[in-house]
Amino acid sequence: MRKILKIEERFYRVLMFLSTTFIGTALFVILFSILRTGLPHLSWEMLSEIPHGGYYFGKSGGIFNAIVGSVYLSLGSSLIAFLVGLPIAMFINIHLIRHTKFVAVIRFLLDLLWGVPSIVYGAFGFTIMVFFGMRTSLMAGIITVSLFILPIIVRAMDEVLRNVPKGLLESAKSLGSTNSEIAYVVYFKQCLPGIITAWLLAFGRAIGDAASILFTTGYTDYVPHALNEPAATLPLAIFFQLSSPIPEVRERAYAASAILIFIVLTVSVVSRILSCKYNKNKINF
Protein backbone atom coordinates (compact mmCIF):
# COMPACT_ATOMS: atom_id res chain seq x y z
CA MET A 1 0.00 0.00 0.00
CA ARG A 2 2.64 2.50 1.09
CA LYS A 3 4.89 1.28 -1.66
CA ILE A 4 2.31 1.79 -4.41
CA LEU A 5 1.69 5.30 -3.08
CA LYS A 6 5.37 6.12 -3.15
CA ILE A 7 5.68 4.90 -6.71
CA GLU A 8 2.61 6.87 -7.75
CA GLU A 9 3.95 10.06 -6.19
CA ARG A 10 7.37 9.51 -7.73
CA PHE A 11 5.73 9.00 -11.14
CA TYR A 12 3.74 12.20 -10.94
CA ARG A 13 6.67 14.17 -9.61
CA VAL A 14 8.67 13.14 -12.65
CA LEU A 15 5.80 14.26 -14.88
CA MET A 16 5.58 17.58 -13.02
CA PHE A 17 9.28 18.15 -13.38
CA LEU A 18 9.05 17.37 -17.10
CA SER A 19 6.13 19.77 -17.59
CA THR A 20 7.95 22.58 -15.84
CA THR A 21 11.06 21.92 -17.90
CA PHE A 22 8.93 21.75 -21.04
CA ILE A 23 7.66 25.29 -20.45
CA GLY A 24 11.14 26.63 -19.79
CA THR A 25 12.49 24.86 -22.84
CA ALA A 26 9.64 26.13 -25.02
CA LEU A 27 10.53 29.74 -24.25
CA PHE A 28 14.19 29.03 -24.89
CA VAL A 29 13.47 27.30 -28.20
CA ILE A 30 11.21 30.14 -29.35
CA LEU A 31 13.75 32.84 -28.57
CA PHE A 32 16.68 30.80 -29.85
CA SER A 33 15.17 29.73 -33.15
CA ILE A 34 14.00 33.24 -34.03
CA LEU A 35 17.12 35.08 -32.88
CA ARG A 36 19.41 32.59 -34.62
CA THR A 37 17.64 33.15 -37.92
CA GLY A 38 16.94 36.82 -37.45
CA LEU A 39 20.06 38.35 -35.92
CA PRO A 40 22.42 37.63 -38.86
CA HIS A 41 20.15 39.67 -41.14
CA LEU A 42 19.83 42.56 -38.75
CA SER A 43 21.67 45.66 -39.91
CA TRP A 44 21.76 49.35 -39.24
CA GLU A 45 20.05 49.87 -42.56
CA MET A 46 17.09 47.79 -41.37
CA LEU A 47 16.67 49.95 -38.32
CA SER A 48 17.18 53.36 -39.85
CA GLU A 49 15.83 53.35 -43.41
CA ILE A 50 12.37 53.23 -44.84
CA PRO A 51 11.70 50.77 -47.69
CA HIS A 52 13.27 51.97 -50.92
CA GLY A 53 11.99 51.19 -54.38
CA GLY A 54 11.96 47.45 -55.00
CA TYR A 55 12.32 46.71 -51.30
CA TYR A 56 9.71 44.02 -51.52
CA PHE A 57 11.72 42.31 -54.24
CA GLY A 58 14.78 42.16 -52.05
CA LYS A 59 16.30 45.55 -52.84
CA SER A 60 17.64 47.98 -50.23
CA GLY A 61 15.79 49.66 -47.44
CA GLY A 62 14.61 48.99 -43.89
CA ILE A 63 11.62 48.95 -41.65
CA PHE A 64 12.12 52.28 -39.90
CA ASN A 65 8.58 53.20 -40.92
CA ALA A 66 7.16 50.16 -39.10
CA ILE A 67 9.21 50.75 -35.96
CA VAL A 68 8.12 54.37 -35.74
CA GLY A 69 4.53 53.47 -36.60
CA SER A 70 4.43 50.85 -33.88
CA VAL A 71 5.89 53.20 -31.31
CA TYR A 72 3.41 55.95 -32.24
CA LEU A 73 0.53 53.52 -32.15
CA SER A 74 1.43 51.97 -28.80
CA LEU A 75 2.32 55.28 -27.16
CA GLY A 76 -0.88 56.87 -28.34
CA SER A 77 -3.18 54.01 -27.45
CA SER A 78 -1.57 53.29 -24.08
CA LEU A 79 -1.84 56.99 -23.25
CA ILE A 80 -5.55 57.05 -24.05
CA ALA A 81 -6.13 53.78 -22.22
CA PHE A 82 -4.21 55.20 -19.26
CA LEU A 83 -6.21 58.42 -19.16
CA VAL A 84 -9.47 56.52 -19.25
CA GLY A 85 -8.31 53.55 -17.22
CA LEU A 86 -6.71 55.23 -14.22
CA PRO A 87 -9.90 57.07 -13.17
CA ILE A 88 -11.83 53.81 -13.47
CA ALA A 89 -9.35 51.98 -11.26
CA MET A 90 -9.43 54.85 -8.75
CA PHE A 91 -13.21 54.92 -8.89
CA ILE A 92 -13.47 51.23 -8.05
CA ASN A 93 -11.02 51.37 -5.17
CA ILE A 94 -11.75 54.71 -3.54
CA HIS A 95 -15.20 56.04 -4.30
CA LEU A 96 -17.04 52.77 -4.70
CA ILE A 97 -15.27 50.87 -1.96
CA ARG A 98 -18.51 50.45 0.00
CA HIS A 99 -20.55 49.25 -2.96
CA THR A 100 -19.00 45.80 -3.21
CA LYS A 101 -21.74 44.38 -5.46
CA PHE A 102 -21.38 47.16 -8.02
CA VAL A 103 -17.60 46.82 -7.97
CA ALA A 104 -17.94 43.07 -8.52
CA VAL A 105 -20.10 43.75 -11.58
CA ILE A 106 -17.54 46.19 -12.98
CA ARG A 107 -14.68 43.75 -12.42
CA PHE A 108 -16.69 40.97 -14.04
CA LEU A 109 -17.40 43.16 -17.05
CA LEU A 110 -13.74 44.11 -17.36
CA ASP A 111 -12.71 40.46 -17.19
CA LEU A 112 -15.18 39.66 -19.95
CA LEU A 113 -13.85 42.47 -22.11
CA TRP A 114 -10.32 41.25 -21.48
CA GLY A 115 -11.32 37.91 -22.93
CA VAL A 116 -12.70 39.32 -26.18
CA PRO A 117 -10.29 38.41 -29.01
CA SER A 118 -8.40 41.30 -30.56
CA ILE A 119 -9.69 40.41 -34.02
CA VAL A 120 -13.19 41.22 -32.80
CA TYR A 121 -11.99 44.66 -31.70
CA GLY A 122 -10.40 44.99 -35.12
CA ALA A 123 -13.63 44.15 -36.90
CA PHE A 124 -15.54 46.49 -34.61
CA GLY A 125 -13.05 49.28 -35.20
CA PHE A 126 -13.53 48.74 -38.90
CA THR A 127 -17.33 49.07 -38.70
CA ILE A 128 -16.94 52.27 -36.70
CA MET A 129 -14.51 53.58 -39.30
CA VAL A 130 -16.90 52.83 -42.12
CA PHE A 131 -19.78 54.32 -40.16
CA PHE A 132 -17.98 57.62 -39.71
CA GLY A 133 -16.50 57.54 -43.18
CA MET A 134 -12.93 57.45 -41.92
CA ARG A 135 -10.03 55.98 -43.91
CA THR A 136 -7.49 53.58 -42.48
CA SER A 137 -5.24 55.76 -40.38
CA LEU A 138 -3.03 55.97 -37.34
CA MET A 139 -5.94 57.55 -35.46
CA ALA A 140 -8.33 54.67 -36.21
CA GLY A 141 -5.64 52.22 -35.11
CA ILE A 142 -4.98 54.11 -31.89
CA ILE A 143 -8.67 54.14 -30.99
CA THR A 144 -9.13 50.45 -31.73
CA VAL A 145 -6.04 49.40 -29.81
CA SER A 146 -6.89 51.60 -26.85
CA LEU A 147 -10.31 49.92 -26.61
CA PHE A 148 -8.54 46.58 -26.75
CA ILE A 149 -6.00 47.35 -24.01
CA LEU A 150 -8.38 49.30 -21.77
CA PRO A 151 -9.59 46.29 -19.77
CA ILE A 152 -6.01 45.06 -19.44
CA ILE A 153 -4.67 48.32 -18.03
CA VAL A 154 -7.66 48.85 -15.70
CA ARG A 155 -7.46 45.34 -14.23
CA ALA A 156 -3.69 45.63 -13.80
CA MET A 157 -3.98 48.98 -11.98
CA ASP A 158 -6.95 47.68 -10.05
CA GLU A 159 -4.86 44.83 -8.67
CA VAL A 160 -2.26 47.36 -7.50
CA LEU A 161 -4.72 49.80 -5.93
CA ARG A 162 -6.62 46.95 -4.32
CA ASN A 163 -3.63 46.13 -2.16
CA VAL A 164 -3.49 49.57 -0.61
CA PRO A 165 -4.49 49.01 2.99
CA LYS A 166 -7.89 50.35 3.94
CA GLY A 167 -6.37 52.20 6.90
CA LEU A 168 -4.60 54.55 4.52
CA LEU A 169 -7.92 55.53 2.93
CA GLU A 170 -9.52 56.04 6.32
CA SER A 171 -6.70 58.13 7.72
CA ALA A 172 -6.56 60.28 4.58
CA LYS A 173 -10.31 60.83 4.82
CA SER A 174 -10.11 61.71 8.48
CA LEU A 175 -7.55 64.38 7.59
CA GLY A 176 -10.25 65.98 5.46
CA SER A 177 -8.98 65.09 1.99
CA THR A 178 -11.40 65.10 -0.89
CA ASN A 179 -11.69 61.91 -2.89
CA SER A 180 -9.75 63.36 -5.79
CA GLU A 181 -6.91 64.37 -3.49
CA ILE A 182 -6.81 60.87 -2.07
CA ALA A 183 -6.76 59.46 -5.59
CA TYR A 184 -4.07 61.64 -7.13
CA VAL A 185 -1.94 62.43 -4.11
CA VAL A 186 -2.11 59.51 -1.72
CA TYR A 187 -2.95 56.50 -3.87
CA PHE A 188 -1.09 57.67 -6.93
CA LYS A 189 2.12 58.20 -4.97
CA GLN A 190 1.78 55.01 -2.98
CA CYS A 191 1.24 52.96 -6.13
CA LEU A 192 3.24 54.84 -8.77
CA PRO A 193 5.64 52.00 -9.65
CA GLY A 194 2.73 49.57 -9.86
CA ILE A 195 0.81 51.96 -12.08
CA ILE A 196 3.80 52.33 -14.37
CA THR A 197 4.11 48.55 -14.53
CA ALA A 198 0.47 48.35 -15.57
CA TRP A 199 1.07 50.94 -18.25
CA LEU A 200 4.11 49.01 -19.51
CA LEU A 201 2.03 45.84 -19.66
CA ALA A 202 -0.54 47.62 -21.81
CA PHE A 203 2.21 49.13 -23.97
CA GLY A 204 3.65 45.65 -24.52
CA ARG A 205 0.26 44.32 -25.53
CA ALA A 206 -0.33 47.23 -27.87
CA ILE A 207 2.98 46.94 -29.67
CA GLY A 208 2.63 43.19 -30.14
CA ASP A 209 -0.91 42.88 -31.36
CA ALA A 210 -1.59 42.52 -35.05
CA ALA A 211 -5.18 41.36 -35.38
CA SER A 212 -6.78 44.53 -34.09
CA ILE A 213 -4.88 46.86 -36.45
CA LEU A 214 -5.11 44.71 -39.53
CA PHE A 215 -8.23 46.54 -40.72
CA THR A 216 -7.70 49.90 -39.15
CA THR A 217 -4.17 51.25 -39.44
CA GLY A 218 -3.46 50.39 -43.04
CA TYR A 219 0.09 50.05 -44.23
CA THR A 220 2.51 52.50 -45.81
CA ASP A 221 6.17 52.71 -46.71
CA TYR A 222 6.48 56.15 -45.21
CA VAL A 223 6.77 57.45 -41.71
CA PRO A 224 3.38 58.93 -40.73
CA HIS A 225 3.38 62.67 -40.03
CA ALA A 226 -0.22 63.09 -38.97
CA LEU A 227 -2.90 61.13 -37.20
CA ASN A 228 -5.04 60.80 -40.31
CA GLU A 229 -2.31 59.11 -42.32
CA PRO A 230 -2.03 55.32 -42.48
CA ALA A 231 0.91 53.80 -40.64
CA ALA A 232 2.98 50.65 -40.84
CA THR A 233 3.51 48.54 -37.74
CA LEU A 234 6.10 45.94 -36.78
CA PRO A 235 3.80 42.92 -36.36
CA LEU A 236 2.20 43.58 -39.73
CA ALA A 237 5.59 44.22 -41.32
CA ILE A 238 6.66 40.78 -40.11
CA PHE A 239 3.40 39.20 -41.18
CA PHE A 240 3.41 40.64 -44.70
CA GLN A 241 7.09 40.11 -45.42
CA LEU A 242 6.92 36.55 -44.22
CA SER A 243 4.33 35.71 -46.85
CA SER A 244 6.66 36.90 -49.61
CA PRO A 245 8.09 34.30 -51.97
CA ILE A 246 11.46 36.10 -52.07
CA PRO A 247 13.97 34.75 -49.51
CA GLU A 248 15.63 38.14 -48.86
CA VAL A 249 12.31 39.64 -47.86
CA ARG A 250 11.54 36.71 -45.56
CA GLU A 251 14.95 37.05 -43.95
CA ARG A 252 14.10 40.64 -43.13
CA ALA A 253 10.91 39.43 -41.51
CA TYR A 254 13.01 37.30 -39.20
CA ALA A 255 15.24 40.25 -38.42
CA ALA A 256 12.15 42.34 -37.72
CA SER A 257 10.94 39.61 -35.37
CA ALA A 258 14.23 39.89 -33.51
CA ILE A 259 13.63 43.64 -33.14
CA LEU A 260 10.11 43.07 -31.85
CA ILE A 261 11.35 40.46 -29.37
CA PHE A 262 13.99 42.89 -28.21
CA ILE A 263 11.43 45.64 -27.59
CA VAL A 264 9.03 43.33 -25.75
CA LEU A 265 11.83 41.85 -23.62
CA THR A 266 13.03 45.33 -22.67
CA VAL A 267 9.53 46.31 -21.59
CA SER A 268 9.24 43.12 -19.57
CA VAL A 269 12.64 43.55 -17.89
CA VAL A 270 11.96 47.19 -17.02
CA SER A 271 8.64 46.34 -15.44
CA ARG A 272 10.20 43.46 -13.50
CA ILE A 273 12.90 45.76 -12.13
CA LEU A 274 10.25 48.34 -11.25
CA SER A 275 8.08 45.86 -9.41
CA CYS A 276 11.10 44.55 -7.48
CA LYS A 277 12.01 48.08 -6.47
CA TYR A 278 8.40 48.73 -5.66
CA ASN A 279 8.28 45.87 -3.20
CA LYS A 280 11.43 47.14 -1.57
CA ASN A 281 10.29 50.73 -1.08
CA LYS A 282 6.66 50.15 -0.33
CA ILE A 283 5.64 51.08 3.15
CA ASN A 284 4.51 47.92 4.84
CA PHE A 285 1.63 48.13 7.21
Binding site: L5, E8, R13, M16, L18, S19, T20, I23, G24, A26, L27, V29, I30, S33, I34, V84, P87, I88, F91, H95, F108, L109, L112, L113, G115, V116, P117, V120, Y121, A123, F124, T127, F131, L147, L150, T178, S180, E181, A183, Y184, L201, G204, R205, G208, D209, A210, A211, L214, P235, I238, F239, L242, A253, Y254, S257, L260, V264, V267, S268, R272
Partner: protein, 299 residues
Protein backbone atom coordinates in the same frame (compact mmCIF):
# COMPACT_ATOMS: atom_id res chain seq x y z
CA UNK B 1 -11.80 82.57 -16.35
CA UNK B 2 -8.55 81.98 -14.63
CA UNK B 3 -7.34 78.43 -15.18
CA UNK B 4 -5.09 78.47 -12.17
CA UNK B 5 -8.14 79.11 -10.07
CA UNK B 6 -9.65 75.81 -11.15
CA UNK B 7 -6.48 74.09 -10.16
CA UNK B 8 -6.51 75.56 -6.69
CA UNK B 9 -10.22 75.16 -6.08
CA UNK B 10 -10.46 71.83 -4.31
CA UNK B 11 -14.19 71.39 -4.66
CA UNK B 12 -14.16 72.19 -8.37
CA UNK B 13 -11.22 69.91 -8.95
CA UNK B 14 -13.06 67.16 -7.17
CA UNK B 15 -16.07 67.78 -9.40
CA UNK B 16 -14.05 67.60 -12.61
CA UNK B 17 -12.41 64.42 -11.42
CA UNK B 18 -15.82 63.01 -10.65
CA UNK B 19 -17.35 63.63 -14.03
CA UNK B 20 -14.24 62.35 -15.80
CA UNK B 21 -14.50 59.18 -13.74
CA UNK B 22 -18.15 58.64 -14.58
CA UNK B 23 -17.47 59.13 -18.27
CA UNK B 24 -14.61 56.63 -18.15
CA UNK B 25 -16.69 54.11 -16.31
CA UNK B 26 -19.48 54.67 -18.80
CA UNK B 27 -17.15 53.47 -21.55
CA UNK B 28 -16.74 50.14 -19.78
CA UNK B 29 -20.48 49.67 -19.69
CA UNK B 30 -21.13 50.91 -23.21
CA UNK B 31 -18.26 49.06 -24.88
CA UNK B 32 -19.61 45.49 -24.75
CA UNK B 33 -23.04 46.67 -25.86
CA UNK B 34 -21.65 48.67 -28.74
CA UNK B 35 -19.37 45.80 -29.78
CA UNK B 36 -22.45 43.64 -30.06
CA UNK B 37 -24.62 46.25 -31.73
CA UNK B 38 -21.92 47.33 -34.15
CA UNK B 39 -21.22 43.81 -35.34
CA UNK B 40 -24.92 42.96 -35.36
CA UNK B 41 -25.68 45.99 -37.47
CA UNK B 42 -23.21 44.84 -40.10
CA UNK B 43 -24.22 41.19 -40.07
CA UNK B 44 -27.93 42.00 -40.20
CA UNK B 45 -27.79 42.15 -44.00
CA UNK B 46 -26.63 38.55 -44.16
CA UNK B 47 -28.94 37.40 -41.40
CA UNK B 48 -31.92 38.86 -43.25
CA UNK B 49 -31.27 36.59 -46.19
CA UNK B 50 -30.26 33.35 -44.54
CA UNK B 51 -31.28 31.75 -41.29
CA UNK B 52 -28.69 31.33 -38.59
CA UNK B 53 -29.21 27.57 -38.72
CA UNK B 54 -28.32 27.43 -42.43
CA UNK B 55 -25.27 29.59 -41.87
CA UNK B 56 -23.92 27.50 -39.03
CA UNK B 57 -24.57 24.02 -40.39
CA UNK B 58 -23.77 24.36 -44.05
CA UNK B 59 -20.24 23.94 -45.31
CA UNK B 60 -20.81 25.56 -48.68
CA UNK B 61 -18.61 28.65 -48.88
CA UNK B 62 -18.98 30.44 -52.21
CA UNK B 63 -18.85 34.18 -51.59
CA UNK B 64 -19.17 34.99 -55.31
CA UNK B 65 -22.43 33.03 -55.43
CA UNK B 66 -23.57 34.55 -52.17
CA UNK B 67 -23.37 31.25 -50.34
CA UNK B 68 -21.97 31.46 -46.85
CA UNK B 69 -21.78 28.26 -44.78
CA UNK B 70 -19.61 28.47 -41.72
CA UNK B 71 -19.38 24.81 -40.77
CA UNK B 72 -15.89 24.34 -42.19
CA UNK B 73 -14.53 27.22 -40.18
CA UNK B 74 -16.30 26.30 -36.99
CA UNK B 75 -15.07 22.71 -37.22
CA UNK B 76 -11.52 23.91 -37.84
CA UNK B 77 -11.71 26.25 -34.86
CA UNK B 78 -13.00 23.50 -32.61
CA UNK B 79 -10.28 21.08 -33.72
CA UNK B 80 -7.46 23.55 -33.22
CA UNK B 81 -8.78 24.73 -29.86
CA UNK B 82 -9.43 21.27 -28.47
CA UNK B 83 -6.04 19.86 -29.42
CA UNK B 84 -4.32 22.96 -28.03
CA UNK B 85 -6.17 22.52 -24.75
CA UNK B 86 -5.36 18.82 -24.72
CA UNK B 87 -1.67 19.68 -24.85
CA UNK B 88 -1.68 22.74 -22.61
CA UNK B 89 -4.11 21.48 -19.95
CA UNK B 90 -2.11 18.64 -18.40
CA UNK B 91 1.16 20.54 -18.73
CA UNK B 92 -0.31 23.52 -16.89
CA UNK B 93 -1.94 21.43 -14.19
CA UNK B 94 1.23 19.49 -13.45
CA UNK B 95 3.42 22.58 -13.53
CA UNK B 96 1.07 24.54 -11.29
CA UNK B 97 1.09 21.73 -8.71
CA UNK B 98 4.85 21.54 -8.98
CA UNK B 99 5.37 25.27 -8.54
CA UNK B 100 2.93 25.71 -5.66
CA UNK B 101 3.52 22.49 -3.72
CA UNK B 102 6.99 21.12 -4.34
CA UNK B 103 9.30 23.57 -6.05
CA UNK B 104 12.32 25.01 -4.30
CA UNK B 105 12.72 28.77 -4.31
CA UNK B 106 15.33 28.80 -7.07
CA UNK B 107 12.90 27.06 -9.43
CA UNK B 108 10.32 29.74 -8.69
CA UNK B 109 12.91 32.44 -9.31
CA UNK B 110 13.56 31.04 -12.77
CA UNK B 111 10.00 30.18 -13.70
CA UNK B 112 8.38 33.49 -12.68
CA UNK B 113 10.12 35.54 -15.42
CA UNK B 114 9.83 32.64 -17.88
CA UNK B 115 6.04 32.60 -17.51
CA UNK B 116 5.97 36.41 -17.64
CA UNK B 117 7.97 36.64 -20.84
CA UNK B 118 6.05 33.80 -22.48
CA UNK B 119 2.81 35.60 -21.66
CA UNK B 120 4.12 38.86 -23.08
CA UNK B 121 5.45 37.61 -26.42
CA UNK B 122 3.39 38.98 -29.33
CA UNK B 123 1.32 36.46 -31.22
CA UNK B 124 3.09 37.22 -34.48
CA UNK B 125 6.30 36.00 -32.81
CA UNK B 126 4.65 32.69 -32.01
CA UNK B 127 3.62 32.54 -35.66
CA UNK B 128 7.18 33.11 -36.82
CA UNK B 129 8.36 30.41 -34.43
CA UNK B 130 5.70 28.10 -35.84
CA UNK B 131 7.04 28.61 -39.35
CA UNK B 132 10.67 28.27 -38.31
CA UNK B 133 10.35 25.35 -35.92
CA UNK B 134 6.98 23.61 -35.77
CA UNK B 135 6.32 23.33 -39.51
CA UNK B 136 9.70 21.73 -40.34
CA UNK B 137 9.33 19.47 -37.31
CA UNK B 138 5.97 18.23 -38.55
CA UNK B 139 7.00 17.97 -42.20
CA UNK B 140 10.34 16.27 -41.64
CA UNK B 141 9.94 14.24 -38.47
CA UNK B 142 6.49 13.77 -37.03
CA UNK B 143 4.63 13.41 -40.37
CA UNK B 144 7.04 10.77 -41.77
CA UNK B 145 6.93 8.99 -38.39
CA UNK B 146 3.24 8.40 -38.97
CA UNK B 147 3.98 7.42 -42.53
CA UNK B 148 2.55 10.55 -44.09
CA UNK B 149 4.06 13.09 -46.37
CA UNK B 150 2.77 16.43 -45.19
CA UNK B 151 3.56 20.07 -45.78
CA UNK B 152 3.40 20.85 -42.09
CA UNK B 153 0.86 23.62 -42.48
CA UNK B 154 -1.95 21.91 -40.61
CA UNK B 155 -4.44 21.81 -37.77
CA UNK B 156 -1.78 20.18 -35.62
CA UNK B 157 0.73 22.99 -36.27
CA UNK B 158 -1.87 25.57 -35.30
CA UNK B 159 -2.73 23.61 -32.17
CA UNK B 160 0.90 23.25 -31.09
CA UNK B 161 1.62 26.96 -31.49
CA UNK B 162 -1.64 27.80 -29.77
CA UNK B 163 -0.97 25.46 -26.86
CA UNK B 164 2.31 27.21 -26.05
CA UNK B 165 0.53 30.56 -26.25
CA UNK B 166 -2.19 29.66 -23.78
CA UNK B 167 0.12 27.87 -21.33
CA UNK B 168 1.21 31.00 -19.42
CA UNK B 169 -2.38 32.22 -19.39
CA UNK B 170 -3.87 29.04 -17.90
CA UNK B 171 -0.85 28.50 -15.66
CA UNK B 172 -1.17 31.91 -14.01
CA UNK B 173 -4.84 31.32 -13.20
CA UNK B 174 -4.14 27.83 -11.82
CA UNK B 175 -1.30 29.07 -9.63
CA UNK B 176 -3.55 31.79 -8.25
CA UNK B 177 -6.29 29.26 -7.52
CA UNK B 178 -3.94 26.84 -5.77
CA UNK B 179 -2.53 29.67 -3.67
CA UNK B 180 -5.96 30.56 -2.33
CA UNK B 181 -6.39 27.07 -0.86
CA UNK B 182 -5.51 27.63 2.82
CA UNK B 183 -2.27 26.04 3.93
CA UNK B 184 -4.01 24.85 7.08
CA UNK B 185 -6.28 22.64 5.01
CA UNK B 186 -3.33 20.74 3.59
CA UNK B 187 -1.81 20.62 7.05
CA UNK B 188 -4.99 19.12 8.46
CA UNK B 189 -4.73 16.33 5.92
CA UNK B 190 -1.01 15.82 6.55
CA UNK B 191 -1.59 15.70 10.29
CA UNK B 192 -3.94 12.78 9.72
CA UNK B 193 -1.07 10.86 8.25
CA UNK B 194 -1.75 11.50 4.56
CA UNK B 195 1.26 11.71 2.29
CA UNK B 196 2.01 14.85 0.31
CA UNK B 197 0.60 13.30 -2.81
CA UNK B 198 -2.59 12.04 -1.15
CA UNK B 199 -3.12 15.53 0.20
CA UNK B 200 -2.77 17.00 -3.27
CA UNK B 201 -5.12 14.45 -4.81
CA UNK B 202 -7.85 14.43 -2.17
CA UNK B 203 -7.70 17.96 -0.77
CA UNK B 204 -5.97 20.44 -3.07
CA UNK B 205 -7.39 19.22 -6.38
CA UNK B 206 -10.79 18.58 -4.90
CA UNK B 207 -10.99 21.98 -3.27
CA UNK B 208 -10.00 23.72 -6.48
CA UNK B 209 -11.82 21.50 -8.98
CA UNK B 210 -14.26 24.22 -10.01
CA UNK B 211 -11.39 26.66 -10.45
CA UNK B 212 -9.45 24.21 -12.60
CA UNK B 213 -12.42 23.66 -14.90
CA UNK B 214 -12.92 27.36 -15.35
CA UNK B 215 -9.21 27.99 -15.90
CA UNK B 216 -9.42 25.53 -18.79
CA UNK B 217 -12.58 27.27 -19.99
CA UNK B 218 -10.83 30.63 -20.02
CA UNK B 219 -7.85 29.11 -21.79
CA UNK B 220 -10.16 27.59 -24.37
CA UNK B 221 -11.85 30.86 -25.20
CA UNK B 222 -8.47 32.57 -25.40
CA UNK B 223 -7.40 29.88 -27.88
CA UNK B 224 -10.63 30.16 -29.84
CA UNK B 225 -10.09 33.81 -30.63
CA UNK B 226 -6.37 33.80 -31.31
CA UNK B 227 -5.73 34.99 -34.82
CA UNK B 228 -2.37 35.82 -36.31
CA UNK B 229 -0.21 33.02 -34.92
CA UNK B 230 -2.68 30.34 -35.98
CA UNK B 231 -3.33 31.96 -39.34
CA UNK B 232 0.38 31.78 -40.15
CA UNK B 233 0.70 28.01 -39.69
CA UNK B 234 -2.71 26.43 -40.11
CA UNK B 235 -2.77 26.28 -43.90
CA UNK B 236 -6.04 28.14 -44.63
CA UNK B 237 -7.76 25.79 -47.04
CA UNK B 238 -11.55 25.84 -47.22
CA UNK B 239 -12.56 22.21 -46.77
CA UNK B 240 -13.82 20.12 -43.89
CA UNK B 241 -10.70 18.79 -42.14
CA UNK B 242 -10.64 15.05 -41.55
CA UNK B 243 -7.31 14.66 -39.76
CA UNK B 244 -4.85 16.65 -37.72
CA UNK B 245 -2.22 16.71 -40.47
CA UNK B 246 -4.64 18.40 -42.84
CA UNK B 247 -4.83 22.15 -43.23
CA UNK B 248 -7.67 23.94 -41.52
CA UNK B 249 -9.28 27.35 -41.66
CA UNK B 250 -10.41 28.65 -38.25
CA UNK B 251 -12.87 31.52 -37.88
CA UNK B 252 -10.39 34.25 -36.88
CA UNK B 253 -8.20 33.42 -39.87
CA UNK B 254 -11.21 33.77 -42.14
CA UNK B 255 -11.72 37.32 -40.96
CA UNK B 256 -8.07 38.31 -41.04
CA UNK B 257 -7.33 36.78 -44.43
CA UNK B 258 -10.14 38.37 -46.38
CA UNK B 259 -10.45 41.87 -45.06
CA UNK B 260 -8.71 43.24 -48.13
CA UNK B 261 -11.30 42.10 -50.62
CA UNK B 262 -14.34 42.25 -48.43
CA UNK B 263 -15.70 45.46 -49.86
CA UNK B 264 -15.46 44.28 -53.45
CA UNK B 265 -17.87 41.34 -53.20
CA UNK B 266 -21.48 42.00 -52.21
CA UNK B 267 -22.47 40.66 -48.80
CA UNK B 268 -18.88 39.61 -48.14
CA UNK B 269 -18.24 42.29 -45.53
CA UNK B 270 -21.47 41.36 -43.84
CA UNK B 271 -20.42 37.70 -43.85
CA UNK B 272 -17.05 38.51 -42.27
CA UNK B 273 -18.64 40.70 -39.62
CA UNK B 274 -21.00 37.86 -38.86
CA UNK B 275 -18.04 35.60 -38.18
CA UNK B 276 -16.63 38.27 -35.87
CA UNK B 277 -20.00 38.36 -34.13
CA UNK B 278 -20.00 34.58 -33.86
CA UNK B 279 -16.54 34.68 -32.33
CA UNK B 280 -17.56 37.43 -29.93
CA UNK B 281 -20.66 35.60 -28.71
CA UNK B 282 -19.01 32.20 -28.33
CA UNK B 283 -16.02 33.60 -26.45
CA UNK B 284 -18.22 35.79 -24.28
CA UNK B 285 -20.41 32.86 -23.23
CA UNK B 286 -17.42 30.67 -22.41
CA UNK B 287 -15.75 33.48 -20.48
CA UNK B 288 -18.88 34.40 -18.56
CA UNK B 289 -19.52 30.81 -17.46
CA UNK B 290 -15.91 30.29 -16.41
CA UNK B 291 -15.71 33.57 -14.51
CA UNK B 292 -19.00 32.88 -12.76
CA UNK B 293 -17.77 29.45 -11.66
CA UNK B 294 -14.63 31.05 -10.23
CA UNK B 295 -16.65 33.71 -8.42
CA UNK B 296 -19.12 31.16 -7.09
CA UNK B 297 -16.42 28.85 -5.79
CA UNK B 298 -14.42 31.58 -4.09
CA UNK B 299 -17.30 32.41 -1.75
Amino acid sequence: MNWLKIFYNRKLRNKIHHSWMWISLGIVFVLPMSLFIGLMWKSAILLNQQSVFDLLFSSEWKPMAGKFGYLTFIVSSVWVTMIALLIAGPVCLLTAIHLTQYAKSWVLKIMAPVIDILAGLPSVIFGVWGILFVIPLLANHIGPFFGKSVSGYSILAGAIVLSIMIIPFILNILIEIFQTVPKELSEASLALGATRWQTIKFVLLKKSSAGIVSAFGLGMSRAFGETIAVLMVVGNVVHLPSGVFQPGYPLPSLIANNYGEMLSIPMYDSALMFSALLLFVIVLIFNAISRLIILRSSH
